[in-house]
């Protein structure tokens, strides 16, 4: 208990850490707000600059950027109708109509306060649930970890809005990339094609920066001529009455956010869209229709996407399975610092878990502070021309990829994966499963081999174990369900069950 408290208070007791969380949150608000700069990209570039730091300062800065960045996207969504981040797509639907009525200040104020509430609910659930999940996870067998890794990769593919087949392809590609190099157990060469350069494997940081940084910068070249729109800002801090009125919806959508965030591979994007959909269904008499400036249309996605931040840390800290792309990168950061996220981390180093909770609380408070101030300065900064921004993103990506190992090879990998990721984006292949696959490749491979060796190489015994262990069975059924739920048979069955008349007509 004392260790937990000490861990939680670390960030408050060291001015340097406090400053880094504040700096990260401030930068995150702007990174998230500038279209073309995503939080995932920023954190993936940042990891290479902070890997020589101590773990606490590095994590402080990343958490600040994450929390600020998830919120920051709403600003440009409201002011310019350009969601700065994917998690702000739904915010633009009602935020921009409000700005067009001259209510940009009110909209920004409400989104800030609701993001703050959502953020706190997410952190509270993380603090309460993670130790319980972690205790439970201690009973996991190697086959459960293997199934969990498969489930995580599949969930990313199925819950992202693209095709499941492309999602599975992307996940398998990620595992394959993660397998390149010498096998750590037998030292056999895997996918090296007799090139010495491939024996050490491919740096996952180079893959991440390429996929998220360079491909996004190349994508932004399509929008380079889009001009910025100037805005007027009015009253910002919302009244207590407004907050009270929307608190029930805010709490409901916080629950959606934290649940969706906790599912491996989902995160704020999907949480915000689902929360928006929920708000549309439960709000009986909005003051304005949805899509024309309904306050509920701002409250729901903004609460949910920030609640998803706390949620995303739950599987990351308890199982070593990232909740979303940013936590996938953070797992990488923890690995680099010699830490091994998972149930043992919670037991061996509970101070690290509580430090992360403390840093999230601090970042959430900074987000409220920066969210309600400096909006005029903000409107100037986001008007930075893309003609300068895009080359700078590319330059930072190169510096980031090189800095990890001082290796020019990593720069080539990064460029290669950047170009590849650009085509994947255009043709509907999700990028998240690739990164998740790379990260989880080792977990999957090691645990499969441990599991099958313990069953004396007998596949029948392995499946018997899966079917007789309740946990393995639940995980296995979940994997099967994800597959089945994406098939036409399932869609037909669902249609027959819920609207038999229409199905019969068809």
């Amino acid at each position: 208990m004392m260790q937990a408290l000490m861990g939680f208070l670390t960030v408050f007791s060291q001015p340097e850490l406090l400053l880094l969380v504040g700096l990260g949150t401030f930068a995150g608000v702007y990174v998230g707000a500038i279209p073309g700069l995503s939080v995932t990209m920023a954190v993936s570039i940042l990891i290479s600059f902070t890997f020589s730091w101590d773990v606490y300062p590095a994590i402080s800065l990343m958490i600040g950027i994450y929390m600020g960045g998830v919120y920051g996207g709403s600003r440009t969504a409201i002011l310019l109708n350009i969601p700065g981040a994917p998690s702000a797509i739904a915010t633009a639907l009602d935020g921009y109509p409000m700005a067009k009525r001259g209510e940009a200040g009110t909209a920004i104020g409400v989104t800030t306060v609701m993001s703050f509430i959502g953020g706190f609910v997410g952190i509270a659930v993380l603090a309460l649930a993670a130790p319980l999940v972690s205790d439970f996870a201690l009973g996991f067998q190697p086959r459960d970890y293997m199934l969990l890794a498969v489930l995580g990769i599949l969930l990313v593919g199925s819950l992202s809005q693209g095709s499941l087949v492309k999602g599975i392809f992307a996940g398998a590609l990620g595992i394959t990339i993660g397998a390149v190099g010498r096998d750590p157990l037998t030292f056999s060469e895997r996918f090296t094609f007799d090139f010495q350069i491939l024996e050490g494997g491919i740096s996952f940081i180079a893959v991440m920066i390429g996929m998220f940084g360079v491909s996004e910068a190349l994508q932004q070249l399509h929008n380079v001529d889009k001009a910025a729109v100037r805005q007027k800002i009015g009253r910002i801090v919302p009244s207590l009455g407004t907050v009270k009125k929307h608190l029930p919806l805010s709490l409901q959508t916080s629950a959606i956010g934290v649940t969706i965030g906790a599912l491996p591979g989902t995160g704020g994007d999907i949480a915000a869209l689902m929360a928006y959909d929920h708000a549309k269904r439960v709000t009986r008499n909005p003051e304005r229709p949805f899509g024309e400036g309904a306050m509920e249309g701002l409250v729901a996605p903004e609460t949910a996407n920030n609640a998803a931040v706390g949620g995303a840390f739950i599987p990351m800290m308890t199982l070593g399975i990232p909740g979303d792309a940013v936590t996938a990168i953070m797992i990488g950061a923890l690995f680099i610092h010699g830490l091994n996220p998972g149930p043992m981390l919670m037991i061996d180093q509970p101070d690290m878990f509580w430090f992360i909770v403390g840093a999230l609380v601090t970042a959430n408070c900074f987000m409220l502070l920066f969210g309600l101030t400096g909006i005029r300065l903000f409107t100037r900064i986001v008007e930075m021309p893309r003609s300068v921004l895009i080359p700078l993103i590319m330059l930072l990506s190169i510096v980031g990829a090189y800095a990890v190992n001082n290796s020019i090879t990593d720069v080539y990998w990064m460029i290669g994966f950047g170009v590849f990721g650009y085509f994947m984006r255009h043709y509907g292949y999700p990028l998240g499963p690739v990164i998740l696959g790379v990260i989880l490749s080792r977990l999957l491979d090691d645990n499969w081999r441990r599991a099958i060796i313990s069953e004396r190489e007998d596949l029948g015994r392995f499946f018997e174990g899966v079917l007789t262990s309740p946990l393995s069975l639940v995980l296995f059924v979940s994997v099967v369900l994800i597959f089945v739920s994406q098939t036409p048979v399932w869609a037909k069955g669902k249609a027959l069950l819920f609207s038999p008349k229409e199905s019969a007509k068809q």
């Binding site: 600059f49 020589s52 994917p86 797509i89 639907l93 819950l159 992202s160 809005q161 693209g162 087949v165 492309k166 392809f169 398998a172 595992i175 394959t176 397998a179 037998t186 056999s188 895997r190 996918f191 360079v214 190349l218 994508q219 070249l221 399509h222 995160g267 994007d269 869209l273 959909d277 792309a325 003609s387 300068v388 895009i390 080359p391 700078l392 590319m394 330059l395 190169i398 510096v399 090189y402 020019i408 720069v411 460029i415 170009v419 650009y422 994947m424 984006r425 255009h426 043709y427 509907g428 292949y429 999700p430 990028l431 998240g432 999957l444 499969w448 081999r449 099958i452 060796i453 190489e457």
Partner: protein, 188 residues
């Protein structure tokens, strides 16, 4: 869940990848075919690791994942081939316009020049060329913005984060030492 139109056919989000559900973008079939060919190559390579030696052999998971890639890539190709092309889209305009090709070439050139020329000259060349092409502004503006940005990047990453980049033809370490001596001298 009700579908919310986000117009993300270009895939600007991890959660909403691009493409169209019921139409084929220019080059999509070729990309799928390339993925299938690469997957087959990887499956062959994975088989070469340890064959069917044992279920716990080092090649088992690579073989399984490469097989998954082959199957899914084949499904994607078969599905894509049946779809009609998106009207009014061309490969050269909507997928790989000249600007994208130019920037890919710039990135490769940057990678090739980074070691021999060094970080500062290569980055200066890259930024000047990139900003000039994208902004279409005059040379004074281009040079001011590019070199100003480079100075900020260099100060932040080289001095604050102490990231070591190739110095190449610029005696960077000597410059930094001169400045350090100046400040030390000033402070003494």
């Amino acid at each position: 869940m009700q579908h919310i139109e986000t117009e993300h056919h270009d895939g600007t989000s991890d959660a909403t990848p691009g493409g169209y559900g019921n139409r084929r973008r220019p080059g999509e079939l070729a990309f799928g075919a390339l993925m299938l060919a690469a997957s087959l190559g990887l499956l062959w390579s994975a088989y070469g690791i340890s064959g069917f030696e044992a279920l716990s052999a080092p090649g088992t998971v690579p073989m399984a994942t490469a097989l998954v890639m082959v199957v899914t890539a084949a499904i994607v190709v078969a599905k894509t081939a049946r779809l009609p092309l998106v009207p009014n889209e061309t490969l050269a305009r909507d997928i790989v316009p000249a600007t994208v090709l130019v920037f890919i070439a710039f990135l490769i050139a940057y990678g090739l020049l980074l070691k021999p020329l060094g970080f500062i000259p290569t980055s200066a060349l890259f930024l000047i060329a990139a900003v000039r092409i994208l902004s279409r502004r005059n040379w004074t503006w281009t040079l001011l913005v590019s070199l100003g940005s480079l100075a900020v990047v260099w100060l932040v990453f080289r001095i604050v984060f102490t990231v070591l980049m190739p110095s190449g033809i610029v005696p960077e370490a000597e410059f930094i030492q001169v400045f350090r001596n100046l400040f030390n001298g000033g402070g003494a």
